[in-house]
């Protein structure tokens, strides 16, 4: 236990403390609030806003899609399909970054395969305002690992839905709608919320995909940190990156608190 405690303190605790500490330090080593003031205004504030919106979109949409997909698979009788999807989800959920970027450029880039197919029927998405290298392009690409992540998280919960609940509901005169409205959805709700929180965190933090896809041109908080770390900073603002990092902690903390409150309501039957 001791080696583990030391390791996780050095590897987790110290870096976190460093981020918080330097967020309040000026370049001269004096305590200051100017870094904080800077990141709560202008382009840094926009970065947070965009990141939060992106994280919301890429947690709610893939959350729902993942739930539907997981249900379609859970109710199937094919063991092969289940195994295939479980393996595929495990791989795809960890499949961010550079590989994904290349695949999507080859698919929906201006000369991508799908773009070519759609152009052939005069539906080239680029002619309708679509741009893969933009905010919504990033959101579309994020689906690729967020949906499998949701499938992984929610499948065990779907397995916990007992057939006898459905039969009991039907038996007492409930339609399919009645069952889902009063039993299925409420029972799944805590797991769905938990899954979406995970997706929110992963969408909010994702750097590699957005950076490689847009070459750092979208205004997102992680991209700004990367850019600051790579040396793109003004003199006297060397510690701004730490303030952005602290801001990301704050956003995540607030999200967790909100999640805790919602979950408490949704799962009062669990306690």
């Amino acid at each position: 236990m001791a080696p583990f405690s030391i390791y996780s303190f050095l590897g987790l605790g110290v870096p976190i403390i460093a981020v918080i500490y330097y967020a309040f330090q000026s370049e001269q080593g004096k305590p200051t609030l100017s870094n904080i003031a800077l990141v709560t205004h202008g382009s840094y504030l926009l970065g947070f806003e965009n990141s939060i919106v992106l994280a919301l979109i890429t947690s709610i949409v893939p959350g729902i899609i993942g739930l539907i997909l997981a249900y379609a698979i859970a109710t199937s009788r094919s063991a092969t399909l289940k195994r295939l999807v479980a393996t595929a989800s495990g791989v795809l959920a960890n499949f961010g970054g550079i590989n994904l970027t290349f695949m999507f450029i080859a698919t929906l880039g201006s000369t991508g395969i799908l773009t070519a197919w759609l152009s052939a029927i005069h539906l080239n998405p680029w002619n309708f305002g679509f741009n893969l290298y933009s905010f919504y392009g990033v959101a579309l690409v994020y689906l690729y690992f967020q949906v499998p992540l949701m499938v992984l998280v929610i499948t065990p919960a779907l397995g916990g839905l007992r057939p006898s609940w459905r039969e009991a509901a039907e038996n007492m005169g409930a339609s399919s709608w009645g069952y889902w409205r009063y039993v299925g959805v409420p029972v799944l709700m805590p797991s769905v919320l938990g899954g979406m929180l995970l997706l929110f965190g992963s969408g909010f933090a994702a750097y590699a995909t957005a950076e490689t896809l847009t070459a750092g041109t979208v205004t997102l908080a992680p991209i700004q940190i990367g850019s600051l770390l790579a040396g793109n900073q003004l003199a006297g603002q060397e510690n701004v990156g730490y303030a952005v990092g602290l801001g990301m902690f704050v956003v995540l903390a607030v999200t967790m608190i909100l999640y805790g409150l919602v979950r408490r309501r949704a799962s009062k039957w669990l306690r």
């Binding site: 590897g11 997909l69 795809l92 960890n94 080859a106 395969i113």
Partner: protein
């Protein structure tokens, strides 16, 4: 007893012409087919596009040149071997750190399991980019000069997956009895861990290994910000030179990971099936 019953039955007789089982299933099947088709298209078309692009030359003709060129491209082998070294070091560190810790906590300090659950979930919650920000500032200079700083951080990143699979594996076996049996037969702690506990955790260790390797070989954020050209960083940089080659490398690494996972999962399945059969016979 049955005031509202007759009309309901009558309604039902009129409204529901077919047997219930027959009535519901086809609709569900069509619905499922549609969902699976859309999902399949979304997940498979990019893979197809990536593969297609890897096997094309600039003129858009099918060609193996990109795949053949991979090993000889400048910087590729350095990046490849750097990633491999990082993977091996990370894996060794992770197992040496996490296996004794989880075993010890399961055995002696079950009350600390909740704390361990919490600590090991943190790396999922903390954005990697913020973590590396803190690491680069806090690490001493001699460590910052070494690529193995990345391995040290990757150990942290892999903790959530590794601990969870070890925890599941440990919960599935009667660890206490196994260890007590071994100790009573004269085994010392190291012996017991190596000869009794580890063999029983085979599948948990396998999945921890796969997850760690996949994580290290695909990690881009930290490596690029620590300015080390690991395989993913090389792929990104090389697209300026030849995007076909870059894509080919990335597809090969995807397929390699996939095969590795499938192989290990199926090995594990056949192993556990054999074990079960043996148990049934006895």
């Amino acid at each position: 007893m049955a005031s509202l019953i007759p009309d309901i039955v009558e309604d039902a007789l009129v409204a529901v012409p077919e047997a219930p089982g027959r009535r519901r299933r086809p609709r569900l099947r069509v619905w499922r087919a549609v969902v699976l088709f859309i999902a399949g298209a979304y997940f498979l078309i990019p893979i197809y596009a990536g593969l297609r692009f890897s096997f094309e030359n600039d003129a858009g003709h099918l060609s193996l040149y990109a795949v053949k060129a991979i090993p000889s491209e400048p910087g590729f082998s350095a990046a490849f071997w750097l990633s491999m070294r990082l993977a091996v070091v990370t894996l060794a560190l992770t197992l040496v750190l996490m296996v004794p810790t989880s075993v010890y906590v399961h055995l002696k300090l079950p009350r600390l399991r909740r704390l361990l659950d919490f600590v090991t979930i943190l790396p999922i919650v903390i954005p990697p980019i913020v973590l590396i920000l803190g690491v680069l500032r806090a690490a001493p200079l001699w460590l910052r000069a070494s690529p193995y700083l990345l391995s040290l951080v990757y150990v942290i990143l892999s903790m959530p997956f590794v601990y969870r699979s070890l925890d599941a594996g440990l919960s599935a076996i009667d660890l206490k009895t196994l260890v007590e049996a071994s100790r009573s037969l004269g085994g010392n702690w190291l012996n017991t861990l190596w000869r009794v506990v580890v063999p029983n955790l085979r599948s948990a260790l396998l999945s921890a290994t796969v997850l760690t390797l996949a994580l290290v070989l695909g990690e881009f954020t930290m490596a690029s910000l620590d300015l080390w050209t690991t395989l993913p960083v090389w792929i990104y940089q090389f697209q300026q030179v030849d995007a076909h080659v870059s894509t080919a490398v990335s597809m090969v690494s995807l397929i390699g990971t996939w095969l590795l996972i499938t192989l290990i999962v199926s090995l594990d399945r056949s192993q556990s099936r054999r074990t079960r059969r043996r148990t049934n016979n006895s």
